[in-house]
Amino acid sequence: MKRNLFWLAIALLAAAVYFGLLVTIGDQYLHADLSLGLPVVARTLVAFLGGLAAIVILLIADDFSNLSRPKALGIAGVVFLLIGSYFGLFVAPPEQFMGETQRIMYVHVPTAWFALVAMTLAFAAAVVFLFGGDHDWDARMEASIEVGVVLAFLLCCQGAIWAKPTWGVWWDWDPRLTTTAVLLFAFLGILALRKFVDDPHRRAMWSAVATIIAYVDVPIVYFSVKWWNSLHQQQSNPNTVSKPFWIPLRANAFGILLLMTAFIMLRARISALRLKHELAPPPPLDDAELGEAI
């Protein structure tokens, strides 16, 4: 049963990444027409929800007993990242307007996508915990938040590295990047909150509530920053890439997705083991001991 779920998830992952996500990315950032005749919004939704569903099924399939699956996913992820980086750094030609700087897009774009996917996963896990009360989902939520925070942090660093040579400043107040930064702080706050609550039930409940509240904020932050920014200055988005070169982008997207999934599975496993310890039933006390106590 769990084995079937695992392969179903892998198939869903592949389909989502191939048909949706990268087509959209290719279209938006590389001006390559890989649209398959679908409008952008539909493709984005298919890709996003497909990828998310895949990871959720993967997490359900993971009964925390089998270490080989996350390991295999992680190794595959590293291999994909190596391939992507090789093509992105050495094979792909430099871009005509931005030159070598543009190469960061090959990791920046996939990181952006999967940071949001990880946060969405945390939100989904929070909702499942709030309604079901199953502490395994608390473990998955914690894992997703942590991995999401790492990705968001990487994204902010990449954004700064990109902005300095391109715009001459470290931070260009791009709505997507700014939203990620706000999210980074919001989720760091939730991780901090978790450290200060000892009771596992309360900790899970509060962080689930805080995760839901923070996640609902994402679109509002995005639009407010977008309006705020557009009323000040009009800046072109980094999508003026003329030559389509999809191999590094696609390989890196697969790599980050697989690596992220592996990390979430492993991290959830650690959390679940800790919780199991914290939620253990009372130790049996034999009658002799009880008699002595009186």
Partner: protein, 223 residues
């Protein structure tokens, strides 16, 4: 006035961090009875009362109050139970009268008999002073008035004698007899074995979160 078991706990357990404050407690109590719960510090008396009154959720086992489950039918249990807790549940910046008025408002009752209640616990003359100026014993008296205002079917009194003067002891005993006469089931957690066993029907001794002895209040083993 229930005749069947009013309080029914099965394998009740509750932990704080790594420590099991309540490991395994099962007992039943008939409606209208007065139960004394005794045991050394940390034996789980307070935790038992807090679990039964739904202030904390149990980590294991189950309990029913008046037929309602303390986890699944929490709201119904709360309508039946009043808890006299270690914490006074009072607002320091409000007066005695205002504190009771807040409770009456939230219960949807009239504020009419607040003055009578304050007289009942001998706080009539301090009714309009803020709780911040009260001594520990006076706070306890006001908490008692709070319990009486709730008109509970099951009253849980955690250390009712604590911080009270001898007159207060008499007040506690009068109040318990009054509650019992009105058909209220009473559970008293206390160290005052001699005093409490005089007003209690039944007794239970706790030890390390488990029931060590259960029987008639008049037959409590002397240590």
């Amino acid at each position: 006035m229930a005749t069947s078991a009013d309080v029914d706990a099965k394998n009740l357990a509750r932990r704080y961090g790594r420590r099991w404050a309540l490991a395994d407690v099962s007992f039943t109590l008939a409606g209208g009875a007065v139960l004394m719960v005794a045991g050394p510090n940390g034996s789980g008396k307070s935790t038992l009362l807090r679990t039964l009154s739904t202030a904390v959720r149990p980590d294991g086992g189950s309990a029913r109050i008046g037929g309602f489950d303390v986890v699944r039918e929490r709201e119904d249990v709360r309508k039946l139970v009043a808890l006299l807790s270690h914490a006074s549940y009072l607002y320091d910046s409000l007066t005695a009268k205002q504190n009771l008025a807040v409770v009456a408002d939230h219960l949807g009752r009239s504020r009419a008999n607040i003055d009578a209640l304050l007289d009942r616990v001998a706080l009539g003359r301090r009714a309009d002073d803020t709780v911040a100026t009260f001594s520990a014993g006076m706070r306890k008296r006001l908490s008692f008035a709070r319990v009486l205002l709730q008109e509970p079917r099951v009253a849980m009194l955690d250390e009712p004698y604590g911080q009270l003067d001898p007159e207060g002891f008499v007040l506690v005993e009068d109040v318990v007899r009054e509650l019992k006469a009105g058909g209220t089931t009473v559970i008293i957690a206390t160290h005052q074995l001699a005093r409490a066993s005089a007003i209690a029907d039944e007794a239970m001794l706790l030890e390390a979160g488990r029931v060590a002895w259960r029987g008639k209040a008049s037959e409590v083993p002397q240590r």
